[in-house]
Amino acid sequence: MFKPKALLLCSIAVLAPGAQADPLPPDATYRPPPTQPFSEVKRMDEQQKAAVMQRQAALLGERYDLADRPLPGVMMSGGRKPVQGGARVKLAAGMSWDRLASLGPEEIRERDLLPQGFRPLPHVKQATGGQVFPQRQIDVIASLEQRDLRRFDVDMDLPDHLTPEFPPPIFLTTHPELGDVSRGQALTLRNFYEIMNGIITPVQMEGLRLLLTPFPQEEFNQTEDRKVAAPSMGVACLDCHTNFHTNAAFHLTPDVRPQSARFRLDTNSLRGLFNQQIHGSKRSLRSVEDFTEFEQRTAYFNGDHVSATRKGVHLPDRPNQVAMMAQMQNIIDFPPAPKLDVTGRLIPEKASAQELAGERIFNGKGRCAECHAAPDFLDNRMHDLKLERFYKVGKTVNDQVALPDGPIKTFTLRGIKDSPPYLHDGRLPTLADTVEFFNLVLGLKLSQEEKDALHAYLLTL
C-alpha cells in the first residue's frame, strides 16, 4: 500500500535536520522578477501617483507642523538656507511636551500617547521603495547632464524648507584656508574638473570623477523593472550626497527583509567621514573603502546582489577605483564651528550664556556626551534606543509595518544644523524635535529652559 505521508516522514527522518521545507513564500528575501510589460507598469504607476503622494502628504500633515518657520538669524553653513525652528512633531490634543515626558513608557504605550512623528517614517511607496530625489537635484542633473532622475511613480515628499541647503558648501581638510570651494554649484560630471582643478590631487580627482559617474540602479536602469521613463544611464553617488553632503534623497534600508518591514533611510552627510570608524546605520562596515565598494549593491540594489547582476552592477576595483573614491571622500571636512576649541569645547568668550548652559546639559544632565563625545560627537558604536518601550509595534502605516529600530549607529552631531531631517529615517524635521525625542527616550525630564539651552548648543556644533 502506498503511504505518501509515511514516506515523507521517513525521508525527513533520513535528511533531517538539514532539509526541512518550511512552507514560506518564495520571494521573501530576493526581489521578485517583474510580471508585466514596462508600458503597462508605467501607465498604472502614473495613474496611481497622485493618490500615492496625497496619502503621504496626509500622513506628514497629521504628524508634523510643516510650516516654513525659520529661526531668526540662524543659517546653514553655506548661508543659503535658514535653519527651521520649533518642535514640529504634533502632540495629541491636550498633551504637552512636559506632560508627556512626565509619563512612564508603559503608560505612554498603553494609552497610545507616543506622538506619531516619533515613530518610523514610511517611504512614500513602501511596496516599491527605492531611491527618491529632491526636485533641485533632478533639475541640476537634467540641465547639466541631460540625465533623468525623475520617477514616474513617486516624488519627494518633504517640503524644500525642511531639507538641507542646496547646493551645500564643500570644505576640504586639505585646504582649510579656502572655505567653501563649491563656487555655489552642485558638482556634476560637467563641472567638477573645472571647480577642483589644481586644488585636489590626481588620485582625488579620479575618485571624484567616479563618484559623479552614473551607474545602473534598481529604479534607474535599462530593464522593464525601472521607474524612470526612458532607459536610464543610472545614478551617481553624489546624486544623493550632493557636494558630499546630503540633499535629503531617501530610499529603503538594504539591510532588512521582508519588504514591508524595511525602514526608510535618509541620506547622510559624508562630511567628517575621516574620523568615523563604523559606517551605515545597520551595516557597521569598518571603512569608507568597504562602504564605497559595497554601496553599489546596497544603496543601489537594496542589498540584493542578484538583482544587481541582472541590471548591470558596477564593481569598482578595490586597489584603484575604491581607494581613490575613498580618498576623495576622506578629505571632506565638517563645516566650521567657530565657537568650538580644538577639543570640541565651547570657547567661553565666543559663546552665549545660553549656549554654555546647553553644553553643561549636553555633558551632564542630558547625558548626550555619553554617546556623542567631542570632538566628533559620536562614539563609533551602535545603540538600541528601544523606542518600542513607548508604543505597540506591528501597526501598518502606509504599508510599512512599524517594528523596533534595533541598534543604530550614533550619528555625528558636528554640523548637525545643516542636515535635516533627523534620525536614520528622517522622522524628525528639526533639532528642537530631536531634543524632545531624547528628552523622552532617555527619561531626562529637562525643563523648557534646559531644552532651549540644549537646542542653542546644538546649533553651535
Binding site: 540662524v74 553653513s77 553655506g78 548661508g79 582649510p176 584656508e177 572655505g179 589644481g198 586644488i199 564651528a337
Partner: protein, 206 residues
C-alpha cells in the same frame, strides 16, 4: 679687508634672497643661467608668461568688480571691502605691467571670461542679492587667485615674477579672509575658512 675679487665671488655665490631653488629637471633647456640651475634675471618660462597674463586679467577683473560694488552696494561693509579691493588691485596692476613691459610680454587690460560673465550677472542685481552674489564671486576669485599665485611660486622660474607672486599671496589670503568674514556677517552663516579662526574685520577696515 677682502679684495674686490673676493667680493665679486661672494656676490655671485650668494643667492638672491627671493630666488627659488627650482627643479633643474623641468627647466627649459634654452634658459640662460646665472649659475647652474639658476635662471638669469628676466628668463621667463611658460608658467611665468601665462601667470603674467592671467594675473593681469584677473587683477583687472577684480578691480572692475570692486568699482561696480562701490557704486551698487548698499552695505557699507561691502563698500569698504570693495574700496580696499580697488586700491590693492590698482597697486598690483602697476607692478604686473612693469614686469611684463620689461620682458616684452603683454599684460592684457581686460578681465577673465568668467569675470565678464559674473559682471553681467552682477549688473542685473541690486540690494541684498547684489551683495550676496558679489561676495560669492569674490570668494571664488580669491580662491582662484591664491591657487594661481601658489602655482607661479612653484612652477615659474623668473625670480622677479615669482617674487611678486610671493608678496601678493598674503594680501590675497587676507582678502579671502575678509570675504569669508563678510559672507558670515551678511548671511548669518558661521564664518568659514580663515575667518573661522579670526572672524573680525581688522579695525582699520571696518
Amino acid at each position: 679687508m677682502r679684495s674686490p675679487a673676493t667680493l665679486a665671488l661672494l656676490a655671485a655665490l650668494a643667492l638672491p634672497a627671493h630666488a627659488q631653488l627650482g627643479n633643474p629637471g623641468v627647466t627649459d633647456p634654452a634658459t640662460a643661467q646665472a649659475r647652474p640651475g639658476m635662471p638669469a634675471a628676466g628668463e621667463t618660462n611658460v608658467a611665468d608668461r601665462l601667470f603674467l597674463k592671467l594675473a593681469a586679467m584677473g587683477n583687472f577683473g577684480e578691480a572692475e568688480a570692486g568699482r561696480l560694488a562701490i557704486a551698487r552696494s548698499s552695505d557699507p561693509r561691502v563698500q569698504a571691502f570693495a574700496r580696499q579691493m580697488v586700491e590693492d588691485h590698482s597697486a598690483t596692476r602697476g607692478k604686473l605691467e612693469s614686469l611684463a613691459r620689461e620682458r616684452g610680454l603683454p599684460a592684457p587690460a581686460m578681465p577673465q571670461p568668467d569675470q565678464v560673465e559674473a559682471k553681467k550677472r552682477l549688473e542685473s542685481l541690486s540690494g541684498t542679492a547684489f551683495n550676496t552674489e558679489y561676495l560669492a564671486v569674490q570668494l571664488a576669485d580669491d580662491q582662484k587667485t591664491a591657487h594661481l599665485l601658489e602655482w607661479e611660486i612653484n612652477a615659474g622660474q623668473d625670480a622677479a615674477v615669482q617674487q611678486l607672486a610671493k608678496e601678493t599671496l598674503p594680501v590675497v589670503l587676507e582678502h579671502l579672509r575678509q570675504v569669508q568674514a563678510l559672507i558670515a556677517e551678511t548671511s548669518g552663516a558661521p564664518p568659514q575658512g580663515l575667518a573661522a579662526a579670526s572672524p573680525a574685520m581688522p579695525a582699520n577696515r571696518r
